[in-house]
Subunit: 991 residues, 2 copies
């Protein structure tokens, strides 16, 4: 059996064979290998650096007294830095797994999107988690920034989680059972330390002492920065970080502290980084400078050809995130089409396919050349071309000179109705290869993602590195060159294939070559294969909820290029965990499809989709072990949580930050609770259930399992509350407080639940609008948009809440915030809310004019909704239409400033008198029902129909007599205002 220490030795040896230096772990506590100066400092600046080292990584917060099978206060990282990006780091990495004896072709090794950032270090990068049969074994990152500085060249950071890898390789279920050395277990060597250091971090560390340490370390770091000594300064930044982590594990970090400390560390780390760079400059870069990768030279242009051929253009990448892959597919399709349109090459359909590792454009029947054509060059206006004597003017002479043309070559042509002299230049069409090359190059250089990175390429920037280009027109390579890449006829198939690189004879054989090598390039085909394959696997006992899991299936489609669905099982005993726990682990953490019986019961199995022709048994076993560990972990937390009193969990919210300026989660929960009770009181909806639920709301954020799986907030609250003996209604209300979690999710069914849900969202919107601002465009990190949609949906779902004005409620929520919320912000919130309602109602199919007409009730969406429903009826009622038209007519006639009200004495004509009587009656009638109700309005207003018709027929409003005119306008203004507060009548389109 490969022991842990042997594994470390093998990996170290492998990487030294790749030219890495070995350095020692940092001799002060660090949370990760990244903090070691061999990473943090060395990735800065222009010097090359390759290093491998072990880093025992201390995470005080992960202390579990050695009881949790998968979690340790100190775990072992093996860290590799390759600077610059060698161009093939993934392949090198796979080699390292092989060095550990892992058959990477038999196993399912996957690169799953993961973006890394350390706010405290001012560092970030893009990359992946590497999965081995579903187990995250490595963090793989292209470093983009450190200490707030852009990194050039970019470094590749590979961080192995050694205990995990070894547990998998040795088939162990508890870290203590790892065979550390021959015949000696990890537990035997480190068990006592794990227990005692956990005791220190969780229970015994002196808070005052560690606070003092933190201050001293920070001051020493600053002093050393001032002295121009980045190396010792850095060690003190690390000591700060450890002291902070100890305080955090002891629950001694307030939200204000946390923000301040992160800010301080980021600042110190940034200064250290700057200083290091400056010192290395001064020292003239003892390790030299990385030579930039030279731009590629395109292959030679092919010989002249005839006839139309297929064009294939493949952009080969490292594993793209699913969303980026989809976006890239669309972008390439668009750009190729546009690009081709800018040429005079005839062509057929443009189709684009995409897998995580490639975007392939296939264009049918691309002509061998553009047609020849004549280019007309416009000269001076004819009138200005020749002098009176017919001789060329100076202008014409200039033109001829400029064109190198003779007088005899001139002809004439008309432009916008004006005749000009012109020269006609016949031009030959370009050959396909030369015309296509710049078009295709531009497609590559134009690739952009939501978040872009640099790698070794001198020019390109994209979601992940572009590693190769294949460009074939028929049998010819299109001479594309962009950045460091020159297109060729080689494509790459699965990395684990016997021949991972294959030369393609002609564009026409490209797609079949991919297919022959197992790569399903078309996402539609892949989805189909995944769905049918999964269904086959579970047949006949199980079902895959293809509609319900559509989003997951879409994601899986873009995680593999050669889908191999396979069925795994897990122990039935785990079915005692809540369904949501089981499925969340499957979907979110593992991208497994849950399997249910015909009646919807969860079955102890799952479908995972491997990539390529793996050893199915091996991969199944691996994935099952991962799921078992995940479930064991969850079960561990679940048991621990169920043994924890609810108030204790709620108390833990003090240690969770909501946002820097909006306080802890405990603060937020208190605000939600108080707001919900006040709203209820105002609506006369107070209840014991609500009071109890409000006292507990969000307590499960303090549970271990929700800390691990935040999406289970609410679900577990209900479970734990019931287990703790809370009444079912209370448990349900606490659960419902979290609803709806996304569009289309369930809404709170109970009023206590609804009130808590509203209070939650009101608090979020008010607080964030005042601090972060309302969302704009696609940036909405706190999901304020979703919260607003939730507000609207919940309000509309509960007629009992119709009386509640969300804008008033927002004001109440604002008053509870720890920051001032100015009136402008509240006004902006109301506006934002109205816009979302308009959009929501429009998407529900209501005519936009009616939607806009009811938006005066945006603060009470259920009212708006009801009115819309009534509108569907009343707009068919001639009385309503007549009144509405009258109202609109009155609006047109009467100046807006004219108040309702009239001098009865001036209105003496019978039509006037009749209308006055009717108006008065209707107004009195309507005054009885202050809530807007179109049915009642129509019923009451129907009495106006006839008098209004007579009035408009017989009375000339704009009478000469000023007094009469004023009274008539006042009467009409009264009519106009009869529907005030019900609809925005102006918006309503009648007829």
């Amino acid at each position: 059996m490969l022991t842990m220490q042997d594994a470390l030795a093998r990996l170290t040896a492998y990487w030294t064979d790749q030219g890495c230096l070995i350095v020692q772990p940092m001799n002060t506590e660090v949370g990760a290998g990244t903090l070691n100066p061999a990473t943090f400092l060395r990735v800065l600046g222009p010097e090359p650096w390759r290093v491998v080292y072990v880093e025992p990584s201390v995470r005080p917060d992960d202390s579990r007294y050695g009881e949790n099978p998968n979690r340790l206060q100190t775990h072992t990282q093996l860290q590799v830095i390759l600077k610059p990006d060698p161009g093939n780091p993934q392949e090198l990495y796979l080699g390292s797994l092989a060095a550990l004896g892992i058959d990477v072709a038999a196993h399912d090794v996957r690169f799953v999107e993961d973006n890394w950032a350390s706010p405290a270090l001012g560092a970030w990068g893009l990359g992946w988690e590497v999965w081995l049969d579903g187990l995250e074994i490595t963090q793989f990152t292209y470093f983009q920034q450190a200490g707030g500085l852009n990194l050039d060249p970019v470094s590749v950071e590979i961080t192995y989680g050694i205990e995990r890898i070894i547990m998998a390789l040795q088939d162990k279920n508890h870290f203590k059972d790892i065979e550390y050395g021959a015949g000696i277990s990890y537990g035997e060597v480190f068990g006592q330390t794990e227990y005692e250091m956990s005791r220190y971090y969780l229970d015994d560390a002196d808070v005052a002492a560690n606070r003092q340490l933190l201050e001293i370390y920070a001051a020493e770091a600053q002093r050393l920065i001032d002295a121009g000594l980045p190396v010792p300064a850095h060690t003190y930044v690390l000591k700060c970080s450890q002291a902070f982590n100890v305080l955090d594990a002891r629950g001694a970090v307030s939200t204000a502290d946390r923000a301040a400390e992160f800010g301080r560390m980021r600042r110190l780390a940034g200064e250290v980084a700057k200083l290091w760079v400056a010192r290395r400059d001064e020292l003239d870069h003892p390790l030299g400078r990385v030579a930039p990768v030279p731009p590629a030279t395109a292959v030679a242009a092919p010989a002249s050809r005839e006839g139309a051929r297929l064009l294939v253009f493949e952009i080969g990448t490292e594993e793209l995130p699913p969303s980026e892959c989809r976006a890239a597919k669309e972008a390439v399709e668009r750009e190729i089409s546009t690009g081709l349109a800018g040429t005079r090459l005839t062509h057929g359909d443009v189709r684009v396919f995409a897998t995580p590792r490639r975007v392939v454009a296939v264009v049918a029947d691309v002509a061998a050349r553009e047609d020849d054509h004549v280019r007309t060059v416009r000269g001076p206006k004819l009138a200005q071309a020749y002098a009176a004597d017919g001789s060329p003017t100076k202008a014409l002479e200039g033109f001829l000179r400029g064109q190198g043309a003779a007088l005899e070559e001139l002809t004439e042509a008309e432009f916008n109705g004006v005749r000009h002299v012109v020269v006609n230049r016949p031009e030959a069409g370009g050959a396909a290869a030369e015309v296509l090359a710049p078009v295709l190059a531009k497609v590559v250089s134009g690739l952009r993602a939501a978040k872009n990175m640099r790698w070794r390429d001198p020019q390109l920037s994209f979601s992940r590195p572009v590693r190769w280009l294949t460009a074939l027109w028929g049998d010819d390579v299109v001479p594309v060159a962009v950045g460091a890449l020159a297109a060729g006829r080689e494509t790459r198939v699965l990395r684990t294939a016997a021949t991972p690189t294959i030369a393609i004879a002609s564009a026409e054989t490209f797609m079949e070559t991919l297919a022959f090598n197992g790569i399903v390039a078309d996402p539609e085909d892949r989805r189909e294969l995944i769905v049918t394959g999964a269904q086959d696997e579970v047949y006949p006992d199980g079902r895959i909820d293809v509609r319900g899991e559509a989003a997951l299936i879409d994601q899986i489609t873009y995680l593999v290029e050669a889908p191999t669905p396979l069925l795994g099982t897990f122990d039935e005993s785990y079915l005692s965990l809540p369904d949501a726990v089981l499925t969340t682990v499957m979907r979110k953490h593992q991208r497994y499809l849950p399997v249910r019986s015909a009646d919807g019961t969860l079955l102890p199995m799952f479908v995972t989709v491997a990539n390529g022709p793996v050893d199915v048994e091996l991969v199944r076993t691996g994935n099952e072990a991962v799921l078992r560990a995940r479930y064991e972990d969850a079960a561990f937390f679940y048991r621990a949580d169920r043994e924890t009193p609810l108030p204790e969990m709620r108390e833990r919210l003090r240690r969770l930050t909501f946002t820097d300026r909006l306080g802890s989660m405990a603060d937020r929960a208190a605000r939600i609770s108080s707001l919900a009770l006040d709203l209820a009181s105002a609506l006369d909806l107070s209840s014991a259930v609500l009071s109890r639920a409000a006292a507990l709301v969000k307590f499960d954020l303090g549970s271990q399992l929700v800390t691990e799986m935040t999406s289970l907030a609410g679900v577990l609250a209900r479970d734990y509350a019931l287990h703790a003996g809370e009444p079912r209604d209370v448990a349900q209300a606490i659960y419902e407080a979290e609803l709806p979690r996304n569009t289309g999710d369930d809404l709170p069914a109970s009023l206590p639940g609804a009130l808590l849900s509203l209070a939650d969202r009101l608090d979020l919107v008010a607080g964030l609008a005042a601090t972060v601002g309302l969302p704009t465009g696609s940036s909405d990190p706190f999901a304020v948009r979703r919260a607003v949609l939730g507000l609207l949906a919940v309000h509309r779902a509960h007629p009992a809440l119709a009386g509640l004005s969300l804008t008033d409620a927002l004001r109440a929520a604002a008053a509870r915030q720890p920051v001032p919320v100015p009136d402008e912000v509240l006004a902006a919130c109301a506006d934002f809310l109205a816009k979302r309602l308009e959009q929501m109602l429009a998407e529900e199919g209501f005519p936009i004019d009616r939607v806009r007409a009811v938006l005066v009730h945006a603060a009470r969406p259920s009212v708006a909704g009801n009115l819309l429903t009534q509108l569907a009826t009343v707009t068919a009622n001639p009385d309503f239409v007549a009144v509405a038209e009258a109202v609109q007519r009155a609006r047109r006639i009467v100046p807006p400033s004219t108040p309702a009200g009239f001098d009865t004495a001036a209105l003496t004509e019978p039509a006037e008198v009749a209308l006055v009587a009717a108006v008065t009656t209707v107004r009195d009638e309507l005054a009885k029902t202050p809530e807007p109700d179109l049915l009642r309005f129509t019923e009451a207003a129907s009495r106006l129909v006839a008098p209004l018709a007579t009035f408009f027929d017989e009375v000339f409003v704009m009478a000469e007599d000023e007094r009469v005119r004023a009274a008539r306008l006042g009467l009409l203004a009264t009519v106009r205002d009869l529907g005030d507060g019900i609809l925005d009548w102006a918006e309503l389109r009648l007829s």
Copy 2:
């Protein structure tokens, strides 16, 4: 070329092949691998443990900004712990060198005595420095205590100094030039860190901050001890140690602090150790318990033999320290002789030989058996054996029963003149093997050294492990068994021999087998070989000062068992360093013999004595490189020192502790200075030279080179003072202040030098007598005895100092101490001084009676010395003898309480009157010369000779008349006291 990182990997791999675990370096700064819990905690308790790890070891005090070629603030240790002692750790270690590609047979690998102790850890052990061609590459220690606890089982600690080894293997002269990884140097990787961390430790670390850290760490350690958590407590002890080291490097540790901090760390480390042991007990020793090594069983006794044969008994050890080896040789000789005397085996000469690895006893003609003999068992006295009726008494019956004898067997014999009944029992003599076995076993079990250790043996304890026994009587193995060792016929020759273990056919061939294998067992032979070999090597240009280097040659004799002298050279440029520097490095550090030309000039060469048939070229080159590095180091310091102003060096004495209670070296220098000036003033010997020298005295203890080579104190002071432009007299006086450095050394020639020398020694004696106590027996760690001898010698050498009373001067020195020096202590000092003077003078050949007679002047040894010289003359003068006899006679007659003085009126007889007149005259005469002078005394007192003779002849002292008797006794008392203050007349033997 083997890079440094490859070397670490190879060593690690080698030791894991020996069953060692690999752990990571400590993730807090440590000064040595020993501090890592994988050593400090794991060597405690009964659990087995084998581990190897790299430890970057931080020594803030060694910071040199990366400028010194051999010294780094962080150097790399590779640490190995073997617990229990595997029985062959040296052989395993040599295997590790072979794994590095070192040909241990070609190189000179030596184990040179080195005892390790860490007062701060309450830890110590015995072992060696391992030398590779003269270079110390490894510390090899048998751990005996840690945290103040005895270790059982004992662990073997092997600590490789990696940079040194690599510099040797790669032939580099500066650590920065080490090839760390392929194509990348140590300086390139670590140069900046070395500079910046040096800056931190020497210049920039904030003293107040580090003091605070020290306190916080210590408090946290104590809290964790109280909480019963040894592991985190230990990390805080380590942090204490680092904070202390930082303060120390910053020169911020006072002597009081140092003592207090060491005490605190020792106490904390001790509590951690106890707690760890207790916790491991509670956990029931997860790694099991080391099985004790079973006692050995002796070989079967040989068949019966006839005739006398040679006995050889070899005790094989690991390398003994030279002094212990000599002592063991003597002890074995004594014990074997005594043991044999306790048997009835006849035998010839007992001869014992010794090398570092063996003590061999050779006994000629040991008889095959003891003679048979008759043992007489004494019974009751004859008188009590039989009753009156001749029947046996109860007493006799009891005796017979006890002996199992019958009445008929009784005979009689006389004991001390009394007749007893007896039984005679014939007894057969024992065979040699059975008689010798217990005798030889007892020799081994009785071996003891000044400092003893345990190893894996269940019973034995000695200076170093005993690893094998060879015991042969003729062809037979003597069946000796002791501890885990059973004697056999195998001996071990050089470890690097092709066959390191050889079976010996018979005792008679033993010594020749050793000789044949190159081992020179007889120290006399070895010494001869070394001397003649060295002389051959240097002939004809050079000379070895065989007499001058006798002590070194004696030491070398016991450092090798197969001496191979070889000549090395060094660059002539180093001859610009002071001779003392060059020879001190050679002798003390390297055990090399210096080589001089016929006129005594030092030549740029040396002789080293390798062990065994090494590759001479290789070993020479290695040793030359070591010496070059040493000289380079010395030259580096020398240059740096010469650039340092003297006051700055003197200032550094503040950072050097003299003793915990007696303050810093600066305090001591100040006391010496003040005392010397006061003494001079009292003697009217003040001078500008003395004042200046006193202001600088001992300044060179603050120089880098004297810090490295303390024995050069004074020598370098003179050198640096001259270089700094001080007058020659001043420089000389500062130098002479250190004289004499040992018995037979030069004495100060100048009075300023002599005064400083006296003040130095007076301060030492007064302070230490009051704190540590005066030396007793062999224990004299501060060399107080040598200081006192120096006092005496200097005083005697300078007539100008004759007036100085050393006891008065001691009192003056005492008054300057920071501790009270009670009168009893001063009295004890005076007594101690007198005893040393007595011994010194006796050893100079003066008759003991005269020595004792002059000891009244012990406080002024030069006076005592002068009187002794005068005594040689005056004792031949009859007048002196007569007066002396009279004085002695007066002392006998006159009661001691009788005062001198007499009633002249009562002395009327002519003899009385004459004596009174003579006495009065002599007394007046003597009063004129207060300084004791026997010549003048004799001259003056000669007038008494006749009157005294008459007086004794004619006057009866004890007259009836009381008044007369009193007057006569008073007159004699006056005679008695005439010589008072000159001699202790009672001690003088006349005739």
